[in-house]
Subunit: 321 residues, 5 copies
């Protein structure tokens, strides 16, 4: 646990539960950034901040969808940040946030994300001076800011795939391309499932329906909502583009298939008849006058050339060559 | 029939029709959990609780879609719970619920589900002390709670199918995969058909348009609605993912088809011409100079090698190899 | 023409134009069920009931879409009932309905449907005692009631088709299946075209915007609207299921095609090379040492077995066997 | 230019610019139906009716989308009528309409349409007596009335195509069918592009937001809007049906392809092995014991029959025969 | 930097920072058209116009999506114009616009577009006399005007592609066609991503929610919004047409594939059996009575003709010929 307490114009950072409790008793503005579940922090949340037992349980637990709950003395939010992991993996970072009159309590499940977030926020501790709600706003703003670059990353990846389609679709390498396309789709699907609920949550925050958010702060939460709504709109456009790319892949593949089939048909149409001719003159009948002709062989070869020429003309006519 | 009657601070459980009638006459809060259609329960519903004959008929009957009906003295609801049966089968459990000022009457068609439900609810009989409407709320809350895990189950199944697609699509094993995909689709379709109406029903309950639901209970019904609306949103996202997976299956299958066709074309393009050459020199013309050449055989074999090489070069050029 | 006139507490049924005119003059509640276009009924509508000439024209005519028209003294409605004809044919039965203060005039174009309807309604003539609007409500309610079973019939048909897909898709029998699927689609399309307008018409009736419908009757028309809106929602879900089933058909067919192609490729890959070997040793060169080897024949056969084995291994590796 | 001027209870038709100017000065209700751009009509519009120069320019010009512009003294509308040309061609007929307090000015670009329109309207010149706005209403009503039959024409064409699909899909004749389907699609697309804007324009007219349209006329414009909105709804349903028909075409074609491929596979699976057997006994090895057997030939033929039978059994098992 | 300052009834154009500062101090209406980032202009924006440092940063920077920000003394807009580049490339031209009470500041990132825009606007400098907001309106109007011709260009291109589909789909040339189709799709996708946000921005401008836009100017901004909304509606229709065209391409290609496959099957079905017959009589058995028949050869040839005829009849029956 790391707590940032406002003392006059300065911020004191502490990890002592007792100090936090004392500061809260003096109604000092403070931010408690939870790290590990210990009996002391447990007690702090329950006794000092008087959180509902179910909220405390939820903070430590893992939950799949964003939600907001309004209690008498505080708001409880579960929101999801996002982080580009190694490779093209996208990680959703759950952030638990309790916003009271004079305090903000946060918990991030994955320590890496929490660390990054803490650093970022350490640069603007003066937010605490304006009040707890402004810190909460900064946290959400920060969290939403990481979403938009994601789409750029997706779009970049998609542009690369699109560029490779004409060369690879329908070839064995193409399967990896398809794999990447459908991988992107699943990621987008997962982000959307979360984003739909998160957008609604942010909309409710931005409508001023909660006492914890004073009217003068509402436009700022509205701004956070606008950013996120824009993100979801862009993601929806991107999703359509993904479908279009899969379609492009399949049509190029189908085009290539056509060429393969035409080659096969061409080769068969030319080869089968002349092989048949050869077969005829390979028969062992005693009475086959052609076999004795002096120019029989030439005649057979000529016949073969003729048939080949006819096939080629036929294909030219049908525009298959 | 099993009735739970509130007596002071205690709950008395009885299956005597007379006791229920007496308790209702004293305006005691009670919950009647119907089990079998008997003349006594029939009479209880009609004479003691004064339910409309059509409602009594509907309670015992089977109806396909959720609905809500507002009578003067009570609300009549048909809602559907959900249960994961054996295998991947999903069962919809119809719950008939009559909510009066001081009583709740329920009937569940499938005894198994009713049993499970009764056990669950037995743990919180104190609800009755708060009033009949809170029991009704608990029943609906309980019922809705079973929906969300369903989607997780679906999603798990879908992830497994997705993982098997690259290996199985286009192979005979793939047909079972397709079967599972379309089975999931039908289940999702059926759940949605019900869910659309159930969501609207819950929305109406949560808007405070019914006298039976006092204003202080409305937010709690709103909560039930929120949960269910969230479920339907997640199901819609899931449905899109299902479509995308079917598409993935088909594109992998089509990719594999391309490879099969290329193999066929390759083998034909190489084999047909050289078989033709062999055919030519298998002809029985008396005057075929090559047949008498000392190196005729070697020449023929060389020709075959040449043609094969040309085909391979052709395929390499077209990037089919 | 068959008229039902309320006389005190009784219903008198007559087909005399004069009696109807007299009863109407006495402001008796009555229901005129038209059958054939005759000069007398023509005159009755124009002179006694003072219908607009265009309305009279419309009543006898055939019109493709539901509509509602509000005149000073009456409402004129065209609605469509539905009937399952022989086979899987669905017939839309147009019902013309004029609702005045004390009278209802109806006309159904197909006598069969009219007959069935009249019988049904004969059972509840007491409706007339409550007033003309309640009869109109009963007529609409009756008409809407026949829609929902339709979807069950569709769904049953669809379930049967779904069950036959794994066996028949891609086979000649499959074409009949496809035919049934697309037939269902057209029927659903036609019903929806009508239903969209009928739903809006019913919505307007249920909003109390017409004087002919007193406030106490509005909730009952609302109920009719609810039923019909529910029908259209279910039809929309069903339409999606139809699309999904067509897709299922095509994917199973495509899967089967893959198997066919693989069989062809397999047989060609095995047969073409060994046939080529046979061709080589069928050549007539004078100098072919193998032909004279004592074990030449065995060598050739061995070579063939080897090539076959190699092909099989190749296919096993590619998981095509 | 042809002008219809109301004089008392009569209509005087004139093509004198001076008369029109005089009539307008006396505030007589009149309708000016423009024909050709001449300096006199130009002057009439500018000086007598005081139209804005940009409006005059727009009237003579060609513009692709419907629009409405509200000026102080008049409304300027561009709307599109529709006409079925020869073959299946649909022509959009642009109608420019200026509606003032006492006058209507119209211009139709294609003289044929204008002619037809004038004839139609000549039958009801009494409209002018009610006022200019009622003439404008009649013009729009007339124009919208021609839309609905269009859909019937489309639907008829579609039904014909649907009926031909089972016979022609996948055959060379099928391409003409596809051509017709996609031609219909483009026409529907073009009509919709216009209809979307025209519907909004009519909606605005029917909302009473313009002074030129008195409250008592608003319901009639609402009626025009209703008709047009119904048309667009039907077109949307039709569009879906078109997609479904293309899909039907493709699935029948794919089904036929399957049959073709199965025939090929069948013929190859039977012929290739027995041809191979013939090839083996066509080899020229000196030591081939079978060649000398008295029943060698019969043995070979028997072997071929056996292989053929095995293939047939294999196909029967796979249900390909 | 090029500044247009209103002096009485004249416009003075200057590029002196000092003059602009002086004019602004005298509250003269002026338009500053930025060109390059220099310390002087930097100072002008910060000190004279008192723009927020973040706004100044944004003006010079590159940003992907349109936005609007409301400051106390001015509005800051990022909007996108559009320009058809060489080939079929579409360039989005970002325009930064600051609208104050008496001034407009603009910056266009690409000098070419800025140049064209400046020229256009130079023709109507009198706009400045009406006030800064009217200049801003003119700038936006101008910008939006360039969107609609774009769709015409797209549509023209699409019509060309559609016309080439019957000839080229499924042929190697077809791949270029597909490429163009999917290129169009990406362009439309990119324009839509921007347009969605720009439309909302214009909607907000047209709702009169900003003090900088006086009520009398609102209808004009509404007009700009209407134009743009119309553009986006047309683009959406166009997008559907694009999908339909891709589908048309694929179905024509699939049709052609069918013909190719049928040719292959036809040739194989005819050739394989007669080649087999030739193979049989090419066998070297000592005891083959036919070989010694005087008419053996004729018999074999007759057999081949018979088999060929049977195949042709078979194909005719199946309507493959």
């Amino acid at each position: 646990m790391l707590a940032h307490v406002l003392e006059g114009a300065d911020i004191r950072t502490t990890n002592s539960v007792a100090e936090v409790a004392a500061a809260h008793a003096q109604k000092r503005t403070l931010w408690v950034d939870l790290e590990e579940r210990t009996p002391e922090t447990e007690a702090l949340l329950a006794d000092t901040f008087k959180l509902h037992p179910l909220v405390i349980e939820d903070i430590w637990g893992d939950r799949s969808l964003p939600k907001i709950e309004d209690f008498d003395a505080y708001l409880y939010l579960i929101v999801h940040g996002v982080k580009q992991g190694s490779g093209r993996r996208i990680e959703l970072l759950e952030l638990d946030l309790v916003l009271g009159q004079t305090f903000v309590i946060t918990y991030q499940h994955e320590s890496r994300g929490a660390h990054a977030c803490r650093e970022d926020l350490a640069r603007s501790p003066k937010l605490l001076k304006k009040g707890a709600v402004w810190l909460a706003h900064a946290l959400l703003d920060h969290l939403v800011d990481h979403y938009l670059p994601l789409v750029d990353a997706f779009d970049g990846e998609l542009v690369i795939i699109e560029r490779e389609i004409p060369d690879k679709a329908g070839l064995p390498e193409g399967r990896a391309l398809l794999h990447r396309l459908f991988g992107l789709r699943r990621v987008v699907h997962e982000i959307r499932q979360v984003a739909v609920h998160q957008r609604e949550l942010l909309l409710r925050l931005s409508r001023g329906e909660f006492d914890e958010i004073p009217p003068e702060a509402v436009p700022f939460f509205r701004d956070v909502y606008d950013h996120f709504a824009r993100f979801t709109a862009v993601v929806d456009g991107y999703r359509e583009m993904l479908s279009s790319t899969v379609e492009a892949y399949l049509s190029v593949q189908s085009n290539r298939m056509n060429e393969v089939m035409k080659t096969l048909t061409l080769i068969s149409t030319v080869m089968l008849p002349i092989t048949f001719i050869a077969g005829v003159y390979g028969m062992n009948f005693e009475h086959m006058p052609e076999l004795r002709w002096p120019y029989g062989y030439a005649f057979a070869l000529g016949l073969m050339v003729l048939v080949t020429a006819a096939s080629v003309v036929f294909f030219k006519r049908r525009r298959w060559l």
